[in-house]
Amino acid sequence: MIKISTDAYEAMRKHGEATYPHECCGVLLGRFEEDGSRVVSSAVRCGNMRTDSPQNRYQIDPHELVRIQREGRDRDEDIIGFYHSHPDHPAQWSTTDLVEAHWFGCSYIITAVDNGRAVLTNSFLLMGSEDQDKHFSEERIVLVQNDLAKTAV
């Protein structure tokens, strides 16, 4: 299960609509709770480096990740996941998504954007510990009030 503030959830979906027909991408900042669940407080927009094929590929500039990681640290938050969109394609992980996934224990959230409108949003937790055994496990998204996401520990 991943808990997401309503603001972060809407921000992800709006980003997918804004970049349609290209894929959007971004970083989810938040906290790990004692029971192992994660709470996303904000979705940080990133640019898509894959200007060669932005309609079906995305890549986040690691320089942006370093900056976002630092901003998270200043707020006592961590990178706990990422999001991207699938324009005119289901909200399911693809082979490319799995091959390129390296943040174990983090969530990869995908929003399907059909004809410019965000439809389904699904979250997949990257399980395993290395390339040989990695796999995605679909997880439930629970929306929480914005102030709860910010004060959760």
């Binding site: 970083v27 079906n56 590929r57 690691p62 320089h63 991207h84 390129e100 390296h102 224990g105």
Partner: protein
């Protein structure tokens, strides 16, 4: 001394710490100190041939070491190293 920031997926191999302070005159020496302290990190950062894995980006402060002198880049006291696995995909 340099501080190495550990990304969330690798902290379980680094004593659950978000950052580790290490000694070293270069990035290579600092990373070598890091895996000496936390040996479980080695296979997640390096191939069997001892090369940094392709998806592992290493930043010295705000610069990608690939655009500096790679792992031979010299460190100054108080420098910050960030280990940043890549983020990519698509349908």
């Amino acid at each position: 001394m340099a501080k190495v920031h550990i990304p969330t997926p690798l902290r379980q191999y680094a004593g659950s710490q978000p950052a580790v302070t290490v000694k070293g005159g270069t990035v290579a020496e600092a990373l070598s100190s890091l895996v000496a302290i936390h040996p479980e990190l080695r296979r997640h950062l390096y191939t069997d041939e001892g090369k940094l894995r392709a998806f592992v980006n290493v930043y010295l402060n705000d610069e990608d070491i690939r655009y500096l002198e790679k792992e031979n880049t010299a460190l100054a006291d108080g420098d910050t190293i960030s280990i940043v696995p890549s983020i990519a995909g698509g349908r």
